[in-house]
């Protein structure tokens, strides 16, 4: 039976390392493990060239190669007879392979050292199953999309779209998107980060399925998996995160003698033991709006099927977010309405809170614990200062916008998302201090404790 490469795509996900054999012009073989053989099409595969190693040098002299790839679910092996065709140093294939490597490199503090030099493209002359590799066949779980499953997901897509269109404020939109992803796609660990042009960072604005919300967590452009997706504005699906990170760390360990200093490893936001990640940029044209990320402990959790669906949903989310930001004042107060919640009895017992604004770091700490920084910190400090000086507790979105000391951008100022962030951070770290809506475009600062303000 003739096997097509597209029939064995699971074997190209990089979950089980593949072996690649080459030979030099003297007929001396060389064998190596590679983390992934990339599926290109039914007649071609590619290998990543990250170092000019023996495999690469052999191919320049003898283009013939052999590879063995393994299906991660059944452990069935397949052998490929290959002929090296060319090295691609740019183009769609290079960009796709490079994104994955850049993301792992950034995550392991290896940016610039662990990088793709070229995508080496091979013609696949033959592919055959390795008969007898297993003494007993292993049944693969059915992963085909059933008609019923497709209907459910089509219906899911429709409902997500409806919810996005119905959303009355940004916070509701983000929460309903994540809720829908769990409801219809069983994505139970998700987050949405929004791009802040003024701060040049991504900020976590909503999350679902984590012990701690992580709201307010920031990622710089190009930093880690999510930062790399944002910088490249390209979807990233990793199916063997642990193996990839282990591979990256090995190179990092081996490269410690390199001249340049290595950056600290950035902890993954979310699951400490995630095995698969799907991160999708939210863009409008070329403009970055944010990133939506999903993770799972199952290394095979995300498939091409999900990529296609979520790219459609991502476009709608980006449009929805942009619509909310455009609405500005009209939407802002609604988000704060939702914020109003009575402090618990335990909270009321707290007599005193010390809030310290560190001017140099542009950050506020509550009782020596980090609360928030940048523009939301300046907003809060303005509110607290006004309140202490004048006794005022009521404020408007408009006065925030016209106060140039806050540093809000003149257009698309994201005031609503900054207020949502501030409210969430107060709920988590200082629940006896709240932002409560008092009407359209207006809100109040409500304190249930006496506040000591310190500026350093």
């Amino acid at each position: 039976m003739k096997i097509r490469l597209s029939d064995i795509k699971r074997a190209f996900q990089g979950i089980v390392p593949s072996s690649v054999a080459t030979a030099d012009s003297d007929g001396v073989p060389n064998i190596t493990f590679v983390s992934q053989v990339y599926f290109v099409d039914d007649r071609h595969v590619a290998l990543s060239c990250q170092f000019f190693n023996k495999t690469r040098r052999n191919l320049d002299k003898n283009p013939l190669a052999a590879a063995e790839v393994i299906d991660p679910l059944t452990l069935q092996a397949y052998r490929l007879r290959l002929k090296f065709l060319r090295s691609e140093k740019s183009g769609p294939l290079f960009d796709t392979m490079s994104l994955r490597i850049d993301a792992i490199a950034s995550h392991t503090g290896m940016t610039g050292i662990f990088r793709l030099i070229a995508a080496d493209v091979f013609e696949v002359e033959s592919v055959e199953i390795v008969e007898g590799f297993l003494t007993a066949p292993v049944d693969a779980p059915c992963e085909d999309v059933s008609i019923e499953g497709a209907r459910t997901e089509m219906r899911g897509l429709q409902l997500v779209s409806e919810r996005i269109n119905r959303a009355s404020d940004l916070e509701w939109l983000l929460a309903s998107v994540l809720e829908s992803l769990e409801e219809f796609f069983n994505f139970s660990h998700t987050s949405i980060l929004l791009w802040d042009e003024a701060n040049r960072r991504l900020t976590t604005m909503a999350s679902r399925g984590y012990g701690k919300s992580g709201i307010g967590a920031e990622v710089a452009l190009g930093e880690g998996l999510i930062g790399t997706v944002a910088r490249e504005k390209r979807l990233l699906r990793l199916s063997s995160l642990e193996a990839d990170l282990r591979y990256g760390r090995t190179i990092r360990r081996e490269a410690t003698g390199a001249a340049r200093a290595l950056a600290e490893e950035i902890p993954l936001p979310g699951l400490p033991d995630a095995q698969s990640v799907l991160a999708i940029p939210l863009t409008l044209g070329d403009r970055l709006v944010g990133v939506i990320a999903a993770e799972d402990r199952d290394p095979m959790r995300f498939s091409e099927w999900h990529e296609a669906y979520l790219e459609i949903i991502a476009n709608q989310i980006a449009l929805g977010i942009d619509r909310m930001i455009e609405r500005g004042d009209e939407a802002g107060e609604d988000a704060v309405v939702a914020a109003a919640a009575e402090p618990s009895a335990a909270v009321r017992c707290r007599a005193k809170r010390r809030l310290t604004y560190y001017r140099h770091d542009d950050a506020i700490f509550v009782d020596d614990e980090y609360l928030i920084r940048n523009i939301p910190a300046r907003i809060l400090w303005k509110l607290l200062g006004e309140s202490q000086r004048t006794g005022r507790t009521e404020f408007s979105n408009r006065e925030m916008r016209v106060d140039s000391s806050l540093g809000l951008p003149p257009v698309k100022d994201n005031l609503e998302s900054r207020l949502i962030l501030l409210r969430h951070r107060l709920q988590e770290k200082c629940p006896d201090l709240q932002l409560v809506s008092t009407g359209r475009g207006r809100f109040a600062l409500k304190a249930e404790a006496s506040l000591e303000l310190v500026e350093r």
Partner: protein
């Protein structure tokens, strides 16, 4: 360097035919009783036809042993001086090494039931005279000759 003889390692071999066409297959175990002057490689009969044919023709064999948990790896290259069916006595060693490898795979979440079905017996025992040993751990030092 001698870490390549530890149990639990993942082992692959490469050979080449008279036309320069490479082949690859998995090995179950490797062993050396003379400080890596020679290396005995155990290849499942079921999956090593092409490799054995190539070894018989060109004598050349390359072997990589990798620690699955940290990717540290060593490559040994040499010429075959003997290729035969492994004995029952050697079968005990092969099965011990298979068990150790299954243990490594379990550490990555591969069910023992699946890993245990890897073909391993009967096996060929191919002995090579080791001519070169290389560092193979991924990174800038990969390919550095260490003996």
């Amino acid at each position: 360097m001698h870490r390549c003889l530890d149990p639990g390692l993942s082992i692959i071999v490469g050979a080449v035919d008279e036309h320069g066409r490479p082949s690859t297959c998995r090995a179950i175990a490797i062993d050396s009783g003379d400080d890596l002057e020679t290396l005995k490689v155990f290849l499942p009969v079921a999956t090593s036809h092409e490799t054995i044919k190539n070894v018989a023709t060109t004598k050349r064999l390359a072997v990589v042993a990798t620690y699955p948990f940290d990717n540290s790896a060593t490559q040994l290259k040499g010429q075959a001086i003997e290729a035969r069916l492994a004995s029952e006595q050697e079968g005990v060693f092969v099965r011990e090494r298979l068990e150790a490898f299954i243990g490594s795979l379990r550490g990555f979440g591969v069910p023992g039931r699946i890993a245990g079905s890897l073909a391993h017996w009967p096996a060929f025992a191919v002995t090579i005279r080791v001519e070169q040993i290389f560092e193979q751990t991924p990174g800038p030092n990969a390919g550095r000759r260490i003996r």
